[in-house]
Subunit: 222 residues, 2 copies
């Protein structure tokens, strides 16, 4: 235990961009800060890494503490390490992003948060620290990765229709999809299967319900 690094050490935090799709908008969970710095501004859920805690474990803990959700898709995004990004002291943040299935979240504000709410990524309020940059990076990764992987399906609830998947992709990318091509692409990936049940909604024709196949994680499309 000798040979330690004699110079001042930075603090390290994790911050988590939690995305969901709701009301045809890509939304992220923000917490209104109840104490300085940036009191009253909105910030990503997150907190300091404990000295005896894995960084990934810290992100999972913060996610559970601040939202009450577990077992959702969580991926390390990028480490933000500019000098001066926190007025208190040198703080390096390891950012993550998480995907919450549509209509799947029971919100629970953390103890140090005056308020927590979902905000449309297209209409963000005033944000603390460099959290606007972190959200921009997370959105960029999400949209890029949805084009070459099945990441987008992690947003879907347990059962869903093909139209619902298409709406989701259209919302996140901001681009309309051709129905026939989109379905062909989606089914060719071979990662979803019919449940056998149908969904009836309003005046629409009943639509087949699908679910992810058991073994599905995020599949890279080659």
């Amino acid at each position: 235990m000798s040979y330690t690094y004699d110079y001042p050490h930075p603090a390290v935090t994790t911050d988590i961009v939690i995305f969901t799709v709701d009301e045809a908008m890509l939304k992220t969970l923000l917490i209104q800060r109840g104490s300085p710095p940036f009191e009253g501004s909105w910030a990503l859920p997150g907190g300091f890494v404990r000295i005896d805690e894995d960084v990934d474990a810290c992100a999972k803990r913060e996610l559970a503490e601040e939202t009450g959700v577990r077992d959702i898709y969580l991926e390390q995004l990028y480490t933000f390490g500019a000098v001066g990004r926190d007025p208190r002291e040198r703080v390096i943040s390891v950012a993550y992003f998480a995907l919450v299935p549509c209509r799947g979240l029971s919100l629970k504000a953390g103890t140090d948060a005056a308020n927590a709410a979902w905000h449309s990524v297209n209409a963000l309020p005033e944000l603390a620290f460099d959290h606007r940059d972190i959200i921009a990076k997370a959105r960029e990764r999400l949209t890029a990765k949805m084009e070459y992987s099945t990441l987008g399906l992690m947003f879907m609830p347990e059962e869903f229709t093909l139209s619902e998947v298409q709406s989701l992709y259209e919302t996140v990318s901001g681009q309309e999809q051709d129905k026939r091509n989109f379905r062909k692409w989606l089914l060719a990936l071979d990662v979803i299967e019919e449940t056998g049940a149908m969904k009836t909604a309003g005046a629409h024709r009943p639509a087949k319900l699908y679910r992810l196949k058991d073994t599905t994680g995020v599949v890279i499309i080659r």
Copy 2:
């Protein structure tokens, strides 16, 4: 400057996986450690982030100090934050990977290194810390990204032939490519152009030389 985080802070390092392709092998630069811990084992180039230094700047500095190269492709890879990964104290490492063009490097060992050398990624020596995991992660990112982007072209020297690009892809992926299909794919990307010159080598027919187009960074293939 009040409200600092009262608990012990971890040290933060950057470690860099520097890849090149040489003698039909994917290689990475390693430094034999001249002091404990892991004295005599090989390790990635890297070092501690200074308290007044951006994390990205630290990676660039370490890269320049330990190899003498600048202005090569450098990308943040992943942050390794397990407890106990360094026997000295809690150390979180922000890992990067860099690509050195084939036959482009003038090697220079850093001051704290007894020795620096390129090692085939398929035949690594005993490694310090969790550096084997870091290299594995870097290789995974490299090979995945070469399939959906033009990242592989960052390995090429200023001028190259289409055969040389094909060999490079075959070496990194470990898979043979069909010559006709590979060329069609590569040229369709529209990121390289003929220099107007030819390359003659041994008994082979002269081959057209190409270069990256001026504006080319890494292009994601959609």
